[in-house]
Amino acid sequence: MEKWQNNKAWFLVLPAFIIVAFSAIIPLMTVVNYSIQDIFGPGESVFVGTEWFEEMLSNYRLHDALWRQFMFSGLVLLIEIPLGIMIALAMPKRGWGVSACLVSLALPLVIPWNVIGTIWIIFTRPDIGLFGVGINSLGLLGDTFDHTARPLYAWITVLIMEVWHWTPLVALLCYAGLRAIPEAYYEAARIDGASSWATFRYIQLPKMRGVLTIAVLLRWMDSFLIYSEIFTLTGGGPGNTTTFLSIYLVKLATMQFDLGPAAAFSLIYFVIVLLFCFAFYQALLNVGKGEKV
């Protein structure tokens, strides 16, 4: 059969291209536009080349925020992934307990993010908050637990909030992965005399690889982009100790109105997230190379 020699097929890609253009490319180009020009007002702009990028890359505040961000996202993954797996393993497999667990796990996921920040402000207040008053009345700490006073307490509060908010997602994903394992695997493991650790290591964990990949990617991206909850809870403080990338970016863009540097920063931010997602994806894909069922 002879091939048709025209390029009409490209028209079929057009609708998708238009949608992507409006949803991603055009907004992104606006940011690019800002990042290479100094814009004073309509029609008043100066081309500055890579100046904003150079400025941002050598900005120590951005370095600090970036470092904090890595620390935060790293801790989030280290806590939420194992905790999520443990919760999923402990969840009941049948009966009314399943629905009860699923509903209570899903609750934090449906609360608006800025409300979460507010909940935790009140919850951890040393004068009226259940958590704040509770932990202080134990008297184990040398000083008062107050996240507005000490950076360490601010970090602990932010991390607990994040873990409370998002571990249920990891747990739900893992639970779905576990439920998909056919009963015969467990039966075979019992007959083979496998310990519960061996069953986890050689059956449950490998079979959860797919959902864990999704969980790691989602949690990495989301925690790397975290804004609302932290903005509400600590506003980036005390000092700058919980000023993560997005908080610093918003400060730069809306409070100081440095649109050029903020735009350059946004692009750097975007590239970092993309690079890490790619790296995680490749790593998790290759852990079990050739073991696709």
Partner: protein, 366 residues
């Protein structure tokens, strides 16, 4: 190796069983000889897998006891019984190599590495898995995977019996035959007790010395393939074994004659005498291959209408209508095929009488 005995086993999945129909297994009482090859045959949902899980210990039966070599193992978990089970879908430890898969049950039991290696290499040799030992198990074809599942049972030198739960379901037809032969070989070589669950009669009849037919939670007959074919103890066995299954006709008895809607069929004297005493609905049954078809009236024959003819290659299946009852007869290749009207003769030797679904038995009881 071991002889396995089931004493009065019954099992239900319902916590408060009301009557017999709530039971997945109803009073199973039987023995499996050491080194025998058994097939457990029955339709889906008849309780085959439940029975298998009771033997392996994955399930504790609601009632009754399980004995291995006279030792009560009813309460022992599967890892404490010396049993191996191969499932319908190959179960593999995906992240491990074939070697590690085979070594897994031994390592779990704390065997030293030298002994593990010796056993694994031996079993890999028997199952022709040696070239794959260092490959990842997950990348192999379904039949190789199923051989690995089997191998994990064989490596254990103490294994008493291997249970198969429809192991060839996911195997390509041309490999089924090969794998089944391999199983037979393994059986002859290692003299293990094999219990093979299937709903495929060809598989059961070719694999096993003894076939146990299950129906609605009961073992309705245990016997060699020939016994099942010639002397079905239960209407279900007659119907399930053989292709097509046995013909059944509702009848009444008049001396040694079975009367089917006006037609009169002579049956075995002794059987008729027992039939007079039997309770319930009476039926006669005959296998299609024993039902004689003639183009003209012969002695003792009854007329029937020809409905259809199916050519199956080396034989033909003739469907006839005898006073509203549909019967099938198997005609050999050279036989003349009657048109419109056929004369059927029921040889007394092969015409069986059933009362309420059970054979009216002239010999011993089940």
């Amino acid at each position: 190796m071991a002889q396995i005995a089931l004493k009065e086993i019954a099992h239900t999945y319902i916590s408060n069983p009301k009557d017999e129909s709530d039971y997945a297994l109803k009073r199973i009482h039987t023995e499996w000889e050491d080194g025998g090859a058994y097939a457990l045959l029955g339709p889906s949902g008849c309780g085959k897998t439940t029975l298998l899980n009771v033997i392996s210990g994955l399930l504790t039966p609601s009632q009754g006891r399980v004995f291995y070599d006279g030792k009560d193992v009813t309460r022992l978990p599967p890892e404490k019984r010396n049993i191996a089970q191969v499932f319908q879908f190959p179960v593999l430890y995906d992240t491990m190599s074939v070697y590690n898969n085979l070594a897994f049950p031994l390592r779990n039991r704390g065997l030293e590495e030298g002994e593990v290696k010796k056993r694994v290499l031996e079993v890999a040799e028997i199952l022709e898995l040696t070239p794959f030992l260092n490959k990842r198990a997950a990348g192999l074809a379904a039949d190789a995977k199923q051989k690995i599942s089997l191998g994990r049972g064989l490596v254990r030198s103490d294994v008493a019996a291997i249970l198969f739960d429809e192991p060839l379901t996911v195997i390509d037809p041309h490999l089924k035959w090969h794998l089944r032969r391999k199983l037979k070989e393994v059986h002859e070589q290692l003299k293990l007790t094999l219990i093979y669950v299937t709903h495929d009669q060809v598989e059961a009849l070719t694999f096993a010395d003894q076939v146990m037919v299950m129906y609605e939670g009961e073992l309705v007959q245990i016997g060699t393939p020939q016994e099942l074919f010639e002397n079905p103890q239960h209407k279900f066995v007659g119907f399930f074994i053989g292709s097509p299954g046995m013909n059944f006709l509702t009848c009444t008895l008049e001396g040694t004659n079975a009367r089917v809607d006006g037609a009169s069929i002579v049956i075995d004297e002794e059987m008729a005498a027992l039939g007079q005493k039997a309770q319930g609905k009476l039926e006669i049954g005959i296998r299609p291959m024993y039902l004689e078809v003639h183009a003209q009236s012969v002695e003792g024959s009854v007329p029937a209408k020809v409905k259809a003819l199916e050519d199956q290659g080396s034989f033909k299946i003739l469907t006839v209508d005898l006073a509203g009852n549909i019967l099938r007869a198997r005609l050999s290749e050279g036989q003349t095929v009657p048109q419109n009207e056929a004369w059927l003769r029921f040889p007394a030797r092969w015409t069986k009488l059933f009362a309420d679904g059970r054979l009216v038995n002239t010999e011993s009881d089940i």
